[in-house]
Symmetry: C2
Subunit: 819 residues, 2 copies
């Protein structure tokens, strides 16, 4: 995966020439285009550069020589292989096979040089013609299809169509392969075949409907039987005549126009956004300046392709032209959703397949294969014998509402409560958060998110709890201020594994006693009614990235499941015998929207607690980070609470796009891919890094990738142990932790902590905008005094190390708080 | 668009052979496959049929003759053209150009005959090899790309790869074009090129990762310079040798296995679904039998491809084998979402483009082109000068919650109410419904949907209102029972246009007085506080498809906007001068989730009322029926209520996938397509049909397609005026109405009306399962005693007429209520 900027400059048009097939005239077109610009009159002076990234075949027949011969253009070939075969075959016999990244870096360096040179003179504009090899998906030297290799730069494309019989099909298919990879096709070219197959007429009509201009160009002279001199003469005449001709003007005009449109679009987006967009979770007064809005041209792998703002431009040490776009590491994994990289071609194809096979289809009383397969996969993957049923909805918040409706009905039905008249609350943890719809909000304690929501009514009781953190190199469990008496003094642990070693830690009479006495107070004394325990396992996300002592969560479940919330208290022994997985006490709901599906390195975050909830909700990573879909999984005893003769007894919930096939199919493909990552070597290096006894760990990832996996249940993170430990000693840091793909840094903040703290904002802005001393720009989100970073499941160690370095560098710099 | 069943039979394997390009060996492979099955030993007897749907070129060189020559197979060519060019060019000089539908019907008839014949003998199995022409997307006779023409039958595909230089790229691209159209590729074949380009090795690796098996077959002998006899000898040897060879066994095995898998999958889906799926809005006790669950193999255009159940099988008058799947008209437009047809290749490609370009990207404080373009398009399209801002969320319910939060905050802020302590309600209509999350539920009056939801607390007051209906050929506006005194006696109208002619109808002092006095009672006497008027314009959907008198809705808005809900009552004159679009009284929220975006034939349903709401919410049709996305649009004065120094003052709402690029980009493409339909000739026939003075209308659609459009503001429907009128006279019908794509039939029900009525269920089941006397099976949904039908925006008149006929036929039949 490359970290090159997208290829957009003010005064350099870099256009990539792809062919619908080999032998369709890519080089002839490139030559014609070059010759046209050489001769083009007007106020703009055009500088040309022809670049062939990969060339195969003998030097004498190379495309670069050909182009130079007829145009005098400056030409470059980045990698040459002698065999006249596909680059992936040719490269094998070479000394060195360039990686995809290497190829991109070399190409980018060339273009950057051009842009710099052209920027020196006013009224001067550059055109770089990058001619690819073979067809759109022909493998590059590494074996990766070409259109995938060059995707990070996302250069605009001219597609040279196939004029031969069958060429209509191959040209449209080639265009579709480019489109599903997120490329913009500026123009399709088709050489005239003398009217035999009428390909270009058809293609013009077809592409016109797609908003893509297609042009017919005159076919090259027949060279059969000509001598070398005659051939040169004929072709020189061809290029001379046609490069000045109206049709080529139109093609060039189109390329120039699209460049201008792209520049205008990038320049206008922030202004347009300010005018018409109401941002989520955003105080608009704080983004009054246009520079405050981040503009994304596209995204690739772990990176956004982001527009430079005044702020980021100032921080770049440059001479001459810099690109208008730069890659920024997506450090919040796009609000915790991202799993398999932006612009992932497999997921893109999966989305299109389901769209093509179904579109969306009705799900009430009906079914389709992707939905049932996903349900089964989740039910199996969670390894929770209680769960048997899967209910689909659209996001974490709706899934939470569904889960709460399920739990409350089950409790009210068993205990014969009337929820429509009595107040039935839920039990939870302070600082928990389950979504933004009113019902999900009501399940959270009053906090900054909901306090100004007029219909919010906190319905429940939320417990205090001790938290896990690393401070100055030591893992510890600490009580909240003033609760030392209840939870005891800070406990220290040698590793995260020890924190989760429940065999060794045993049960906690202290925790259980605390919970029981509180329940006695609210249930027995105050006679309040409760219908569910609702919790995010391990980490409370939106509440401030708080790592809960897992033993406390275990204790809570244990106590609640045995507590008499009503009388008769629990299911009869017959009921328990009939269904040993029936809920007891109140139904236990785990909100794994953030923590589940590999975010913390495991399929389920409940597995860390070794607890089986009665209801489990999942979203975010479910589709690998592509589009909204959520599920609420439930046990049979919950499901049975809605069984009855009346339709009104049913769970009358269901959004229009319930179990939409695109979401389900993409989720299946994502879970496949993530399981493969988990089962393969991809995370071994990370796992080893955390498994070694040495508390300092090591950041030498690459060597360890092939080593054996550590014990299944060890806790690990993608962020290096050594780095995390180092951070925990930093004077600006109160504490840190890392688990799975998540790194959390809590800053010391003299002005008080919490959501309203500004301590982390300066750091966040510096990470994004000031790249003067770092290798990478990082987009991150903060929660009060907490800054967190999140990797995707496919993040590579080298990239994460650069992000770690950037964070440390900014922490060390003098940053004005609240800038 | 075709209405053929999908091609799946118990004992006929119909496989479609596509080529990655022309000249790659499709016919050689088809011959080899045929020869293999001819010689295949085992317990099964194989009957073979080679079908060439379209053939071009001289008869002597035709593929069917070639295949017969070497295999003795029964062969058929459906359409022959003499010119050796693409079918779309060749067909032009023919007498008759077969339509796509004609092609499908002919092909389907052949396959059906085969299936019937083979089903006669036990242990007998048929294979039909359908060889396409040229490449995957080569145009058929009509000009439509082949893979699009044959999509309704969705036959499994063997893709013959290209063995030549460049063939890797063209083979993968061809496969991608098939996949984005929802095809399943059973196998990819590549002929050996003697190891020169290693295409088949590469392709095997590539497709293996996608779960598609790729096979290498030996290349055909070099025939250059051979005499006809020598050539025949050489090829006979080739087919003789290789058809018995292990590699062909593997290919055939794969095809057979995939057929068995497909059968098993179709047979198991209902059982698997029963085990693991919790359906939306479904009383599971009512779908206890496996046959109760509808299984969709796929969908195309307006049709589901549905598995025959015992019930539907019984009703089919057949001899021998019937297909396992049949097309059922999607009469609820998949819960009101469907707009541009299932499996629409343009939307599929649009989804993939956005996935490829962005994946999902963070939207808080950031922006991307599809989101801002969609926001602008909606703000312009609604032609509501009040609306300036667009907030994204995931479904109608979340959009409603967002709208309610906006309105309440604006009201509370201006009137200095404390919503966290005081009860602030909303005003609405009885029977309205805005979604299934608790907040959206709270905005509806108590009803069957919410009465058992434990956290539901209806917060508001809901008005009675008169309704519009056609009864016995007459349009009338009728009061609810017992409200005649308030609303007056029934009023009759000559047409729907008259109902909406507000100039003629004027203001209604009666309505206004009723509303004012009720407001006086609840606001002045009972001192209740209200923060919004929330309404579905024109039709209350989930509440039972109730057509509200538009003048009543206008009156309600008018009165509410002038009513003093607090003192000081309204914005100061300075505020109104500064912003003439500021809200007054309480903010007015229109829920257009069901009624908007062309569902009723117009971009906005507010336009029917000629009223500009302060907040407008949209979902469902927004993405053309592909995937979840919703918006809440608001005015500047609403937006300003969240402006402040504190983050807590902001609208702290935002789902992870807010403004996901796939949804936004697909929505842009959908709105483009729908606007084009509206502006073009597509709906002219429908519009004319309703515009003609003759109350009986006409169903002769086709002739009128090119006629001039009727007046812009006329009311029209896709369901014919004559038919609707006829229905309104039916003895089993209480009343009907049709507007835009919606047809609503309210049945007489002696046992009482409403959601719990069973009157329409028998009708619904008959429409789906009993196709003995109708041309089409129809999947519909009922709401109590109401059955409704909905077309997509692309439905063709001929198809709707068949649906109309089916409904009438079932109404006439003796159907047992509540069967």
């Amino acid at each position: 995966m490359s970290r090159v900027p997208a290829g957009l400059w003010q005064n350099l048009i870099a256009v990539q020439v792809y062919g619908a097939n080999t032998g369709v005239g890519k080089t002839v077109f490139s030559t014609l285009l070059g010759a046209h610009f050489v001769k083009r009159a007007g106020r703009t002076r055009w500088s040309l550069h022809y670049i062939k990234p990969v060339s195969t075949g003998p030097a004498g027949e190379a495309d670069d020589r050909y182009v130079r011969k007829y145009t005098g253009l400056s030409v470059s070939t980045l990698f040459k292989f002698r065999d006249p075969v596909s680059p992936h075959v040719a490269a094998r016999s070479a000394d060195h096979i360039p990686s995809d990244d290497h190829l991109n870096q070399r190409l980018y360096a060339k273009l950057k040089n051009d842009a710099r040179a052209y920027s020196m003179a006013r009224g001067h504009m550059g055109v770089a013609i990058i001619e690819t090899a073979g067809g759109v998906l022909s493998p590059g030297p590494s074996g990766t299809p070409q259109a995938d290799i060059f995707r990070p730069m996302r250069l605009p494309v001219v597609l040279v169509g196939d004029h031969r019989l069958g060429g209509i099909a191959s040209t449209i298919s080639a265009a579709e392969s480019l489109i599903i990879r997120g490329y913009d096709i500026d123009a399709v070219i088709c050489f005239d075949d003398g009217g035999k197959y009428e390909n270009s007429q058809y293609l013009q009509g077809h592409f016109d409907k797609m908003g893509i201009l297609a042009f017919e160009l005159p076919w090259i002279p027949d060279l059969v039987g000509l001598s070398e001199i005659e051939e040169k003469e004929a072709m020189r005449g061809y290029y001379d005549t046609w490069s000045r001709q109206g049709r080529m003007f139109k093609v060039a005009r189109r390329i120039i126009d699209r460049h201008i449109e792209r520049l205008a679009s990038m320049n206008n987006l922030a202004r347009r956004t300010k005018k018409s967009i109401w941002h989520p979770f955003t105080q608009h007064k704080s983004i009054e300046k246009a520079d405050d809005i981040l503009v994304f041209d596209s995204a690739y792998g772990d990176y956004f392709q982001t527009k430079h703002t005044g702020r980021s431009m100032n921080s770049v040490d440059h001479v001459g032209e810099v690109p208008l776009l730069y890659p920024a590491f997506d450090g919040s994994a796009s609000w915790w959703t991202q799993g398999l990289g932006h612009g992932n071609p497999q997921l893109s194809l999966a989305a299109a397949y389901a769209a093509g096979r179904y579109g969306h289809v009705m799900f009430a009383g009906a079914t389709h294969e992707p939905a049932i397969t996903l349900a089964e996969r989740l039910l199996v993957g969670l390894e929770n014998p209680r769960l048997t049923k899967c209910f689909y909805s659209d996001d974490g918040s709706t899934a939470a509402e569904v889960g709460i409706k399920m739990a409350l009905r089950a409790a009210c039905k068993r205990y014969d409560w009337d929820g429509s008249k009595e107040d039935i609350g839920i039990l939870g943890l302070k600082g928990s958060y389950h979504g933004d719809t009113i019902g999900a909000m009501d399940a959270s304690e009053p906090c900054v998110y909901n306090k100004k929501v007029d219909w919010y009514r906190g319905r429940g009781h939320w417990f205090d709890f001790p938290t896990v953190k690393m401070r100055k190199g030591k893992w510890l469990i600490e009580s909240p201020a003033g609760m030392e008496e209840e939870f005891g003094p800070a406990q220290y642990f040698g590793s995260l594994d020890e924190v989760f070693d429940f065999e060794k830690r045993g049960r906690s009479p202290r925790y259980e006693k605390y919970i029981e006495s509180l329940l006695d107070k609210i249930v027995k004394e105050q006679r309040r009614k409760f219908g569910a325990l609702v919790m995010e396992p391990i980490i409370l996300g939106a509440g401030g990235m708080i790592f809960v002592d897992p033993l406390f969560q275990r204790s809570l479940v244990q106590v609640v499941r045995n507590y008499p919330f009503a009388s008769p208290a629990s299911p009869t022994s017959t009921a328990l015998e009939e269904d040993p997985h029936t809920w007891t006490g109140v139904p236990v709901l785990f909100d794994e929207v953030f923590t589940g599906l590999y975010r913390l390195g495991r399929f389920s975050s409940a597995s860390f607690l070794q607890v089986h909830p009665d209801i489990s909700i999942h979203a975010k990573l479910l589709t690998g980070g592509l589009l909204p879909l959520s599920v609420t999984l439930a046990s049979e005893s919950i499901f049975q609470a809605f069984w009855g003769d009346e339709k009104a007894d049913a769970l009358l919930h269901g959004h229009s796009y319930t179990a939409h096939p695109i979401g389900c199919h993409v989720a299946n493909k994502s879970l496949d891919a993530m399981r493969e990552l988990g089962g393969g070597y991809a995370w071994r290096g990370y796992q080893r890094n955390w498994a070694v006894a040495d508390a300092n760990g090591s950041s030498e990832w690459e060597e360890k990738l092939t080593m054996r996996a550590p014990a299944q249940d060890s806790i690990w993170s993608m962020w290096s142990k050594k780095y995390v430990t180092e951070l925990s000693h930093h004077p600006r840091v109160d504490h840190v932790f890392a688990i799975g793909s998540v790194l959390v840094v809590s800053l010391t903040d003299k002005s008080g902590s919490g959501y309203t703290s500004n301590a982390a904002i300066g750091l966040r802005d510096a990470l994004l905008n000031d790249v003067s001393n770092t290798r990478v720009s990082v987009h991150s989100r903060v929660l009060g005094n907490v800054i967190y970073l999140m990797a995707s499941m496919t993040s590579k160690p080298g990239h994460l190390v650069a992000v770690e370095d950037a964070l440390l560098q900014k922490l060390n710099a003098k940053v004005v708080d609240g800038d």
